[in-house]
C-alpha cells in the first residue's frame, strides 16, 4: 500500500537530481519516508537522497521498493503547475505507479527490481570540509567549464579555492573564511581534482538549497551534502577523484 502526496517541486527536484546520473532507479518508499540511491554506469558518481515523512503533505506506505524509469516520471511532472500537489499510489495487481495531478492520472509501468543493481556506498573519511553558498559554487563551476573539463578543489584552514586549467587558459575562485565567504573545518590542507560533467549537472539540478557542504581529502572522493524540500530532505553526492596526471 502506498499513498503519498507531495508538492510537485519537491518531487521534481528529486527526479532532476537522480536523472543527472541514471535513467532508471529503485525508489524505496519506506514506512518513514522515501529513500533513493543511484550510481552512474561508470561508478564514478553516486547520489543518495532521503525525504522524511514530514516533507510530504500526506504519507503512508507499507514499505516497498519500486523500480522506475525516470523519463516517464519527468514527463508527467512537467504537467504540474507551481504549488500543485502530486499524488503517488501503487497498483499492485497491474504493477503500476499511479501519478495523479489534479484530475490527470498517469499509470507508469514498473521495471523489474532485479534489473537495477544496488549502489554500494563507500566508507569515506574526509580531512577537510567547507560550507559555501550554492550560487558561489555554481558561478565557479560555470566559469571553469569554459576552460576545462576538470575542476580542482582546495581547502586550506583559511581559504577555499576552485581552479580550472587548460593548456592556455586558467581560472580560479577564492573564498576567504576571514571575510565570512565560507565556513571551513580543515585539519590539514586538502586538494583534489574532479571531472566536471556529473558535478556540474548535479549542481545545476539543485533548486531549493541555499548552502552546500563540500568534504574532500587529498586526491580523495568528494562528498557534497545539502538539504532540500524545506529542510526535510537530505542529499549526498559522492564523486571519485581524477588523479593528477604526470604526462
Amino acid at each position: 500500500m502506498l499513498n503519498a502526496k507531495v508538492k510537485a517541486e519537491t518531487l521534481k527536484e528529486v527526479v532532476e537530481l537522480l536523472h543527472t546520473l541514471v535513467d532508471e532507479v529503485k525508489m524505496n518508499f519506506g514506512k518513514e519516508g522515501l529513500g533513493v540511491k543511484a550510481v552512474d554506469p561508470s561508478h564514478v558518481a553516486m547520489i543518495e537522497l532521503s525525504l522524511t515523512k514530514s516533507s510530504f503533505e500526506e504519507y503512508k506506505s507499507s514499505g516497498m521498493e519500486l523500480a522506475i524509469e525516470l523519463e516517464k516520471l519527468k514527463e508527467v511532472l512537467k504537467l504540474a503547475r507551481p504549488g500543485e500537489i502530486v499524488k503517488l499510489s501503487f497498483d499492485e495487481d497491474k504493477n503500476k505507479l499511479i501519478v495523479e495531478i489534479a484530475s490527470f492520472r498517469r499509470f507508469i509501468p514498473l521495471l523489474d527490481i532485479g534489473s537495477i543493481s544496488d549502489a554500494k556506498v563507500p566508507s569515506l573519511t574526509h580531512s577537510a570540509k567547507a560550507v559555501i553558498d550554492l550560487e558561489a559554487l555554481r558561478q565557479g563551476i560555470r566559469g571553469t567549464e569554459s576552460v576545462s573539463s576538470h575542476l580542482t578543489i582546495e581547502i586550506k584552514p583559511d581559504v577555499f579555492k576552485l581552479e580550472g586549467e587548460s593548456e592556455q587558459d586558467k581560472v580560479e575562485m577564492m573564498l576567504y573564511k576571514e571575510k565570512g565567504e565560507v565556513e571551513i573545518e580543515a585539519k590539514e590542507p586538502a586538494k583534489s581534482m574532479y571531472a566536471l560533467d556529473y558535478f556540474s549537472n548535479v549542481v545545476k539540478a539543485i533548486s531549493s538549497a541555499q548552502k552546500v557542504t563540500l568534504n574532500i581529502g587529498k586526491d580523495y572522493p568528494l562528498k557534497m551534502e545539502f538539504a532540500f524540500a524545506g529542510g526535510n530532505g537530505t542529499a549526498k553526492f559522492l564523486l571519485a577523484p581524477r588523479m593528477p596526471d604526470s604526462i
Binding site: 550510481v39 552512474d40 554506469p41 561508470s42 561508478h43 564514478v44 558518481a45 553516486m46 554500494k120 556506498v121 563507500p122 566508507s123 569515506l124 571531472a195 572522493p221 559522492l238 571519485a240 577523484p241 581524477r242 588523479m243 593528477p244 596526471d245 604526462i247
Partner: protein
C-alpha cells in the same frame, strides 16, 4: 611497376600529367618524375594513377561500354540537392563483384585496390536527389544497385570516359566518368534480403538498414541500397551521396548495437588485438570498463594526410558512456570502426572500454576510403588477443609494437587518460 611505366611512356608526358592536376604534389614531383622518391613515399601516387589509367583507357577507347556492373552505383555530392548519379560499369564482363565489394579486399595491395576501382567507369546523370523515378537511367541505376549478382550492362556515353578520379578519405576511389546517354541491362534479380525493405514503403530507412544487416547483407551493400534511396517511407526516399550514406549506415548500425553493448557484463582482463594492412599498424586495446571508445590516428610525415609536415600528426575522437552529440572530428572512420568494435563485443557478449590506435606509415600513399578502417578493425578483432592483468602491461605491450612512444598516445587520448587517472567509487571500501 615504375620501370614498366618508364619503359612505355616518355618522361615528358608524365610531367604533363602531374602538372595538369591541382594536387599536393609540387615542384619536387617535377624534378623527381616518379624516379627518385623525393616525396618520401614508397611508390609514386601519380604513377599509380597513371598506371591504372593507361590500362583502363586501352579498354575504353570508345563512348560505349559493354560490361558487368558488380553491381555498383555512385551518387555525387557536389551541388547537392542536384547531383550526378549513375551505375558503375567496367569494360569487362563476368564475375566483377570484387570491384565494388570492399569486404573482399582484406589481403589486397594498394595497387590491386586502385586497379579494381579505376576499372569502374562512373556513368553520370544529373538529377535532383528526390527525382527517384525520373526516367529509365534513374530507375535502372537504382534497381541495378540492388541486384544480387553482377549484371550485364550496355552503356552509351555522350563522350569517351575520362576526367578526374575521386580520391577521398571517406569513399573508396572512383575511376573515370562520362555523362550517360542511355543504358540497357540484361535480366537482373533484386537481392531478396533487400527486396522486402525496398517494396515496403512504410518501413523507416533506419529499420530497413537494421533488418537487412540482421539478415546478413554486407555493410557495403546496405550502403549502396541506402545511397540509391531504396529504403524509407515512400515520400522521403531520395538519392543520398555515396559518401554520406557510408557514414549514415555505419552510424545507425553502431548506435543500435551499442544499446545492447551497454547492458552486457564487462570483460575481465585487458586485451590487445593487432593487425597490419596497407602500411598501417592497428593496435586495439580493450579494457574492463563501462563502454567508452576512442579512435586515435597518427600520420607519419609524407603519408596521405600529412604530405608536407615534418612531424607526426595525431588526431582523435572519443565518446564516453553517454555517447557524443557532435559529429566526430576525425570523420567517417570513427563510425566505421565503432561498428566493427561493437560487432566483436556482441560476439563476446561483453562490454568494454575500447581504444584504437592507428599508425599510418609512408607506404599508405593514397586514401582508399572508410571501408579500410572498418575491415582493418574487423580483421584485427578476428585475431587472437594478447591478454594482460593490468592496464600498464597492456599499454607497454601495444607501445612496443608502435613506432610512436606510448606517452605520446596517452597525451592525445581522452579515454586513456580517463582509464588511467579517473578513480571509481568501488575502489574505496564499502560502508558496513
Amino acid at each position: 611497376m615504375d620501370n614498366y611505366i618508364r619503359s612505355v611512356v616518355p618522361a615528358d608526358s608524365l610531367f604533363e600529367l602531374s602538372a595538369s592536376k591541382p594536387t599536393n604534389y609540387n615542384m619536387r614531383c617535377v624534378i623527381c618524375k616518379g624516379s627518385r622518391m623525393l616525396c618520401g613515399k614508397a611508390s609514386c601516387p601519380i604513377l599509380v594513377r597513371f598506371y591504372v589509367k593507361s590500362k583502363t583507357f586501352k579498354l575504353l577507347d570508345s563512348n560505349q561500354i559493354h560490361g558487368s556492373t558488380p553491381p555498383g552505383a555512385f551518387i555525387g555530392r557536389m551541388g547537392y540537392p542536384y547531383v550526378y548519379v549513375g551505375p558503375l560499369v567496367p569494360p569487362i564482363t563476368g564475375d566483377t563483384a570484387i570491384l565494388d565489394t570492399p569486404e573482399m579486399w582484406g589481403n589486397r595491395t594498394m595497387e590491386d585496390i586502385v586497379d579494381f576501382r579505376f576499372k569502374l567507369v562512373r556513368g553520370k546523370h544529373y538529377v535532383k536527389v528526390t527525382d527517384i523515378e525520373k526516367n529509365k537511367i534513374v530507375s535502372l541505376t537504382r534497381e541495378l544497385a540492388l541486384a544480387d549478382a553482377p549484371t550485364g550492362i550496355e552503356a552509351k556515353f555522350t563522350k569517351k570516359p575520362g576526367g578526374d578520379i575521386v580520391l577521398d578519405d571517406d569513399v573508396q576511389p572512383f575511376g573515370p566518368s562520362a555523362p550517360l546517354e542511355k543504358i540497357d541491362a540484361e535480366n537482373y534479380k533484386i537481392d531478396r534480403r533487400i527486396e522486402k525493405a525496398y517494396y515496403d514503403t512504410d518501413m523507416k530507412a533506419k529499420d530497413a538498414v537494421l533488418e537487412t544487416y540482421r539478415s546478413g547483407v554486407l555493410v557495403s551493400k546496405i550502403q549502396r541500397a541506402f545511397s540509391v534511396g531504396a529504403f524509407g517511407q515512400a515520400k522521403l526516399r531520395k538519392f543520398v551521396p555515396t559518401r554520406w550514406s557510408i557514414t549514415a549506415v555505419d552510424s545507425i548500425l553502431g548506435l543500435e548495437l551499442l544499446k545492447k553493448t551497454k547492458t552486457l557484463p564487462q570483460i575481465g582482463e585487458y586485451l590487445v588485438f593487432e593487425h597490419k594492412q596497407l602500411d598501417n599498424i592497428w593496435e586495439i586495446l580493450m579494457v574492463p570498463s563501462e563502454w567508452c571508445y576512442e579512435l586515435i590516428e597518427a600520420w607519419y610525415p609524407r603519408t596521405v594526410w600529412n604530405p608536407t609536415g615534418n612531424t607526426i600528426a595525431i588526431f582523435s575522437s572519443a565518446e564516453f558512456f553517454e555517447g557524443r552529440k557532435e559529429y566526430a572530428e576525425i570523420g567517417g572512420c570513427y563510425y566505421a570502426a565503432r561498428l566493427a568494435v561493437n560487432e566483436k563485443l556482441h560476439e563476446m557478449q561483453r562490454q568494454a572500454g575500447v581504444v584504437i590506435m592507428r599508425e599510418a606509415h609512408p607506404g599508405y600513399i593514397m586514401p582508399v576510403g572508410v571501408w579500410n578502417v572498418r575491415e582493418a578493425v574487423r580483421a584485427a578483432l578476428r585475431n587472437t588477443p594478447v591478454r594482460f592483468n593490468t592496464l600498464g602491461e597492456a599499454l607497454n605491450y601495444a607501445g612496443s609494437k608502435l613506432a610512436i612512444p606510448m606517452s605520446r598516445w596517452i597525451k592525445e587520448s581522452a579515454v586513456l587518460k580517463y582509464l588511467m587517472f579517473q578513480k571509481r567509487l568501488d575502489e574505496y571500501a564499502e560502508k558496513t
